[in-house]
């Protein structure tokens, strides 16, 4: 944003603070400092701002095979999708975000890849090549959002340590592969099966660092929507998104979507490694998401499904709208798998809400587009908000539900506009 409109926005903010009786709401904005169009700024999108060091570290950088994305860290690679790629319901492969915990990421060749299936609750151990998996199992497809558990962590106030994601650690794709339950069925799942443990080909730089291994409840593994995917939007998975095969757990956060999957074990005891027992945990009972029962501890439990959320992609904070011209409020909404029931838009700081039109239904795990044309206005300031509600009844929150690791940010966006 040029300096001039930043100044205009300051004026707008003063007007709003003085005139609209919205002092509290605006006080919580506290974000006018960040109006300069810094790359990946979340204040520019109507949210709390990222830490200043995070913004200073942002550059656009293209990993091999990818478009320029917002660089969070080079090694391990963590790259965020810029907001312009969320103006369609499907996120293109070369713009899809990249997230790794560990720095040793092999370039796996499809012909050399194999998947080991076993575990103490499997009847037998099996090994599949890619061609055998494709040949022996019925293909399956699902359109689903993959969102990092920590997406929007950088918006937490007070800030919490970690990868300081803005809004772009998410994407929506058509995933195609085979059902995990079909593969597990071939191995034979014993009655005492509790969890399914997943390991990818990536590893740590040091042997002492815990390998990234995750588990999911056996009933989630046996869900017909849980896939071992080879394709994303009708193309092979990009290297950085898990080529040649990754797990797809629709509705669940990205941490469970293990990339470059090489091992699947059906087990009778809870997986106890660091990434399950300590990382990716929420204070117990703070969210209404389902419990991963075999992993619940006294104080905390693993993150499971995503909370309902939305993102306005057509407007930026401080934008000037010509007098009398309709204001196009467009964006995307999604939840943890019940599907979007409605998205409502407010142009009066939440005093009243109108239903936006929903775009094509691509399935309950997908981004759902929404659009609302607010009637033209006389000169003055206004605040645009969007609030998604899932078919489960869950709706976005007005106040952040703070938690130590910075998960599940779904605070309603507030975009400050000026009609001129």
């Amino acid at each position: 944003m040029p300096r001039s409109s930043s100044t205009a926005f300051s004026a707008l903010r003063r007007k709003l603070v003085c005139g609209a009786g919205a002092v509290t709401a605006l006080g919580s904005l506290g974000a006018s400092r960040a109006l300069a169009a810094e790359l990946g700024s979340t204040a520019a999108l109507g949210y709390a701002e990222l830490p200043d060091g995070t913004l200073a570290e942002h550059v656009l950088y293209a990993l091999p095979g990818k478009l320029p994305l917002i660089k969070k860290t080079y090694r391990p690679p963590n790259f965020e999708t810029p907001i312009e790629y969320f103006r369609t319901a499907i996120t293109r492969n070369d713009a899809f975000f990249v997230r790794y915990h560990l720095a040793a990421i092999p370039e796996v060749k499809a012909a050399e890849w194999s998947l080991a299936v076993g575990g103490d609750s499997a009847e037998r151990e099996l090994k599949f090549t890619l061609s055998r998996l494709k040949k022996e199992f019925k293909p399956a497809e699902v359109t689903a959002v993959c969102q990092c558990s920590g997406n929007r962590r950088g918006l937490f106030e007070p800030h919490v340590a970690g990868v300081e994601w803005g809004v772009g650690a998410m994407g929506n794709a058509v995933w195609r592969g085979v059902r995990l339950k079909d593969v597990l069925g071939r191995a034979g799942v014993k009655a005492d099966a509790l969890e399914v443990v997943l390991d990818g080909a990536d590893g740590p730089a040091l042997p002492k660092t815990p390998d990234f291994v995750k588990s999911i409840p056996v009933e989630v593994a046996m869900d017909e929507n849980t896939l071992i995917a080879f394709e994303m939007n009708a193309k092979p998975l990009p290297h950085w998104n898990g080529f040649p095969a990754r797990l797809v757990v629709p509705g669940w956060t990205g941490t469970y979507w293990v990339k470059q999957l090489v091992s699947v074990k059906v087990v009778s005891k809870p997986e106890g490694n660091f990434w399950m027992s300590t990382a990716y945990r929420l204070p117990r009972g703070r969210f209404k998401t389902p419990s991963f029962k075999s992993q619940v501890k006294e104080a905390n439990e693993p993150i499971t499904t995503m909370v309902v959320n939305s993102l306005i992609t057509s407007l930026r904070n401080g934008r000037q709208i010509p007098r009398g011209k309709p204001i196009d409020v467009k964006g995307i909404a999604f939840d943890g798998g019940s599907g979007i029931d409605r998205v409502e838009v407010s142009t009066d700081l939440g005093a009243s809400w109108q239903r936006a039109q929903l775009g094509k239904d691509l399935g309950r795990f997908s981004f759902r587009e929404f659009a609302f044309a607010a009637p033209g206005r006389e000169r003055g300031a206004l605040v645009v908000m969007a609030r998604a509600t899932a078919r489960s009844g869950e709706t976005q929150v007005e106040q952040l539900i703070h938690n130590p690791a910075g998960y599940h940010h779904n605070v309603i966006q507030r975009l400050y506009l000026e009609v001129v």
Partner: protein
């Protein structure tokens, strides 16, 4: 993936593939100040942009916690006696400003 020959090959391959990113990474520099030499040990496992990305909101206790997590959880080969110097450097140069 643990303890397989794939691991050794993996490191080499990811290096080749990400050569561009590694060249970029070398541009990320820590601030020159006492303790920088000890803080440079972090680069064994991750790029230094992790540090500035997490600034400026952690106080000395917060940075000490981060350094200890790297040692105790992730097995970073950092001597216990270096923790204080590294945490001080990070708090001084990448810590929460006193007025916040």
């Amino acid at each position: 993936m643990s303890g397989t020959p794939m691991r050794a090959a993996a490191a080499a391959l990811s290096l080749a593939l990400a050569a561009g990113a590694f060249a970029q990474e070398s541009k990320v520099q820590l601030k020159d100040a006492p303790g920088k030499d000890k803080a440079m040990q972090c680069v064994a496992c991750h790029s230094l942009d992790y540090i500035r990305m997490n600034s400026r909101f952690l106080d000395k206790a917060g940075w000490t916690g981060s350094v200890n997590k790297m040692i105790n959880v992730f097995g970073a080969p950092i001597a216990k006696e270096d923790v204080e110097a590294i945490a001080s450097y990070l708090a001084q140069n990448y810590g929460k400003p006193p007025d916040k």
